[in-house]
């Protein structure tokens, strides 16, 4: 008999009752049945935060938080405001460190809640459409472990959409508790807040997995397909002879409603469906002829170009001013999610004819429709009807207007004082006013399209639009491609690369995730991804970072998706899909522990995280990360022991988790064979760090891929990459090589002459490669 802790589920092999003998009785209270999974239940199914607190504190004692308060004040309750600077306590007794970690917790909870509620919206819709018994299938025969995160965290093996509901119930309870801990007078300890941040991250990853496995199973998305089709990307790919529909956000059912309606009416070839952000990515998983315009920062430029005839918004990463922007180009806006009603009237219950008539006549600038099917009909028919009457409306100035506007510039620099990309706007604008817009045009690639410069301008110049006017040709000619999101990693791929990764012979897995905002974000992410793929790391990516990688061509005119294969193997660039597909990146590391190393997964978080941390050389780079979702995703990786690097703006997440390589005593592990504590050096050195430049990020990433378990061959390969990158970018040898060499066999043969003198000068002590673990429970008894 197995009793599931949180949802009573009892299986009896045989029971004698007054009425006779019952065989194979299954009783299920709650919605998860006991199933074919006969793996023994681990110690922490459906864990509360405190169940994993010991593990968290182990990590946090090595990677101590460095707080960088973005604000000295706390304004959360009416006791305040409180000034917490200089060691002062708030009226509630809280100190700065705890306050900062509390804000980090709030951010992580917002992020996790967003993904979990997104998963809830999807599940509700999919169960309504396909029924709760719809089986989970994310890779046909290629995938046995369909939900590694859920199996690991919850200790259940979900088989149908209905099974996922119970998982979400759990996440929602946990997030509510975590959020409650941030209330005044609850948690007051910084490290306990941090541990709760980790828990929010775990809940986030569970939510991501629910969302993506549900949508892969229900829609005809690629199922773990390394050769998923190449789809078009870029503003220049839009066929403007057709009515153009723009979808923005993350929750794909309304966009799928549009495609389905068009298919049913034989209109697929007559409309152009384009998207921004993750809805676009998921849309192309459903229909590879849909087009991705670009990441989050492309919203203003695309709308202002006047191309979209109708705009559909769902949830997450949607600009709050899209209704205003839409009205300026006379495009109706349809809101489709309770997360973002945009102040529009709810017309879900109305006849589509009436809604369309009101939108076409301009009686209403937009509507809220919460039924994806109805969205499909209203959007397609309205877009076709408004196309002719609204074409010609765009808000990007003509070349003549550009000149006139730029002439107004007084050089006051107010625009520069709000520009997050720190651009030299004033001088560029004045040059444009003198007839030379080249400098202004050169800012296009760096501009993150926030629009703040326009509100700041003292001469009412629409600065962003003027930049777009100067670079209109560049913008209109953006034509790239991206491999459609493949979803999970196949079990066979894991079997094949598990050994080389764990032994260190594939130098690492580098995941480019999150937004690609921020100055040069797009180009820098693409260049970093190519560099690591060329070095035969496994590069994985998702969401806006996956798009950014595609928006780049090499000398031969190929995008990285044409240049590199899509298999989860050395030298691949693997687009798993949208933000929620990040689950497959974490999932792949977990599957290495379970499929390759045959560790038990079920409710066995600590052991698996300990395995991933000590053996799987994976690093996340969230270069333009800005959202609370990115914070939550990162937190989920931290708890698995996977380091995350962010770009310079990531310092605004206000705390880092840093190790100290100069403290050898911090870098001890148990050798599980002997139980002895052994020194392994600072691997990986940090858990969360902001880098100032891509050069710093790349050298850090190469270094953070080292793990205590690396074989000598693996370590020497990782060192080769680290040293080679460092030398190329810094023009000298790194000064910490001695910390990573455990024996002469670790020294890369081709670099011996350069490394030996450094080792002689700095000294290093030889130590054996242990079977590393942080957990006493993993130490084998002498007999074994």
């Amino acid at each position: 008999m197995t009793v599931n802790r949180k949802n009573v589920s009892i299986t009896l092999g045989e029971a004698k009752t007054a009425a006779g003998t019952l065989r194979d009785l299954k009783v299920s209270i709650g919605s998860v049945r006991e199933n074919q999974w006969n793996e023994e239940q681990g110690p922490t199914p459906f864990p509360a935060h405190t169940d994993l607190r010991t593990w968290d504190r182990m990590l946090l004692s090595r990677y101590k938080p460095l707080y960088l308060p973005f604000c000295d004040l706390c304004c959360l309750c009416t006791y305040g405001k409180c000034d917490l600077s200089g060691g002062k306590k708030g009226a509630c007794g809280i100190r700065m460190e705890a306050q900062q970690s509390r804000i980090v917790l709030l951010a992580a909870c917002i992020g996790a809640a967003t993904h979990v509620s997104h998963a809830r919206h999807l599940i509700t819709h999919l169960i309504d459409t396909y029924g709760r018994r719809k089986p989970i299938n994310i890779g046909d025969a290629s995938i046995d472990t369909e939900a590694p995160i859920i199996r690991l965290v919850c200790g259940i093996k979900p088989e149908t959409l209905g099974d996922l509901k119970i998982v979400l119930d759990y996440c929602e309870r946990q997030i509510t508790e975590l959020l409650a801990a941030a209330h005044t007078g609850q948690e007051g300890d910084a490290i306990d807040f941090e541990s709760k941040v980790f828990h929010a991250g775990t809940m986030d990853h569970v939510g991501l997995e629910v969302a993506d496995i549900a949508q892969i199973s229900s829609f005809s998305f690629p199922k773990a397909d390394p050769d998923a089709s190449l789809v078009e990307l870029g503003l220049g790919t839009v066929d403007s002879t057709k009515p153009v529909i723009l979808v923005v956000g993350h929750n794909v059912p309304p966009a799928i409603g549009i495609i389905d309606y068009a298919r049913e009416q034989n209109l697929s070839g007559s409309i152009e469906i384009t998207g921004i952000c993750c809805t676009a990515i998921d849309l192309t998983r459903y229909d590879p002829t849909a087009r991705i315009i670009g990441p989050i920062s492309w919203q203003l430029r695309y709308i202002r170009s006047g191309l979209p005839d109708l705009i559909v918004v769902d949830e997450q990463c949607v600009r709050a001013d899209l209704l205003d922007e839409a009205q300026k180009i006379h495009a109706p806006l349809i809101a489709t999610s309770s997360m973002n009603c945009s102040g529009l009237p709810d017309r879900t219950g109305d006849d589509p004819e009436e809604i369309i008539a009101d939108l076409v006549s301009g009686k209403t600038p937009g509507v809220l429709i919460l039924d994806p099917e109805k969205v499909g009909e209203v959007v397609v028919r309205t877009a076709m009807a408004v196309m002719e009457q609204r074409r010609g409306f765009r808000t990007i100035p003509t070349p003549e207007e550009l000149f006139e506007l730029a002439k107004r510039c007084s050089g006051c620099q107010e625009c520069m004082r709000v520009c997050p990309a720190g651009m030299p706007l004033a001088i560029a604008m004045q040059q444009a006013g003198n007839g030379d817009p080249a400098a202004l045009a050169s800012l296009y690639d760096t501009c993150i399209g926030c629009g703040k410069c326009e509100d700041a301008c003292t001469k009412e110049i629409p600065v962003h639009s003027v930049i777009l006017a100067a670079s209109d040709e560049t913008m209109q000619s953006e034509r790239f491609n991206i491999r459609a999101g493949r979803g999970a990693i196949q079990d066979i791929e894991i079997r094949e690369v598990g050994g080389p990764i764990v032994l260190g012979e594939i130098p690492g897995i580098i995941a480019f995730v999150g937004c690609a905002n921020y100055e040069n974000g797009v180009a820098e992410v693409a260049e970093m991804a190519r560099e690591f793929a060329r070095r035969r790391y496994i590069v994985v990516t998702s969401g806006c970072s996956a798009m950014a990688i595609g928006m780049h061509r090499n000398e031969d005119g190929q995008t990285p998706y044409e240049e590199f294969h899509g298999r989860f193997d050395a030298g691949g660039i693997v687009n798993v899909g949208s933000c929620v597909s990040n689950a497959h990146i974490a999932g792949a590391t977990i599957k290495i522990a379970s499929i390759f190393a045959k560790r038990k997964l079920r409710g066995n978080y600590e052991e698996i995280a300990d395995y991933v941390y000590n053996r799987v050389g994976a690093v996340g780079i969230a270069w333009g990360a800005m959202s609370q979702k990115a914070a939550a995703i990162a937190a989920g990786f931290w708890r698995l022991g996977i380091p995350v690097i962010v770009g310079p703006h990531g310092s605004k997440y206000r705390r880092m988790l840093l190790g100290r390589r100069d403290k050898p005593e911090d870098w001890l592990v148990y050798d599980s064979r002997t139980g002895e504590k052994v020194e392994v050096g600072p691997v990986p050195e940090h858990l969360f760090i902001a880098a100032e430049t891509p050069e710093e990020a790349m050298t850090l990433a190469a270094k953070l891929c080292m793990r205590p378990n690396d074989t000598s061959r693996g370590r020497s390969m990782k060192l080769t990459n680290y040293i080679d990158l460092y030398k190329r970018l810094y023009n000298q040898m790194p000064d910490d090589i001695n910390l990573f060499v455990r024996s002469p066999a670790d020294i890369p043969v081709t670099m011996k002459e350069q490394i030996l003198p450094i080792l002689e000068q700095k000294g290093y002590h030889e130590h054996p490669i242990p079977n590393p673990t942080l957990l006493k429970s993993q130490i084998r008894t002498v007999k074994e």
Binding site: Y67, L68, S85, R417, V418, S651, R660, E692, E696, Y730
Partner: protein
């Protein structure tokens, strides 16, 4: 433009604010009192500082006359060395700040902790968070930003300045070092 409001308009983070370096003697006096000063130089110095000369000269004078170690973050080192500046170490800024807030840390040379930090060439908002980390984590440490943008979280900062007056200030500080050996 007012000289002592944060260069980035929204960066209003606290109740205390950096004192504005009104005249070069302020930095001279800080240098005179300091026992263990340190330069932290970020990558933007290549675009804003090195080519313009005076900042380079100040760093050179500081490192040769007062033996102030220059720590380069990221690839800055390449450019500093090309300018003839001796780089004592390369280290990411987050790692430097993490060490500076540790009272036990003995410095890059093992000789003890630092008491005066000059920062230059770091992206504004990145530098903002680093300074905030130091102000809260290492309150005894004095910080001086050398860029022509006001940084409220520093102990001392230039106001928001045009390039010309900023360079003049740097030249005057360098002269104090070279002539009076502050």
């Amino acid at each position: 433009m007012a000289g002592d409001d944060a260069w980035m308009r929204a960066e209003m983070g606290g109740t205390s604010r950096a004192s504005v370096i009104g005249k070069p003697e302020v930095v001279g006096a800080l240098l005179k009192r300091a026992k263990r000063p340190l330069f932290i130089v970020g990558h933007e110095v290549t675009a804003t500082g090195l080519a313009s000369g005076p900042l380079t000269r100040f760093m050179k004078a500081g490192s040769t006359i007062r033996h102030i170690p220059v720590i380069a973050t990221s690839s800055t080192a390449r450019d500093l060395i090309a300018e003839g500046i001796q780089v004592a170490a390369i280290m990411g800024s987050m790692e430097i700040i993490d060490r500076l807030r540790d009272p036990e840390w003995k410095g890059f040379d093992g000789q003890g902790s630092y008491d005066l930090i000059f920062l230059a060439g770091l992206p504004y908002q990145f530098c903002w968070t680093l300074l905030s980390g130091l102000r809260n984590g290492a309150p005894a440490l004095k910080t001086v930003t050398l860029d022509p943008k006001y940084h409220p979280h520093a102990s001392w900062s230039f106001g928001n300045m045009a390039t010309g007056p900023w360079q003049e200030q740097l030249q005057a500080i360098t002269a104090l070092l070279e002539e009076k050996h502050v």
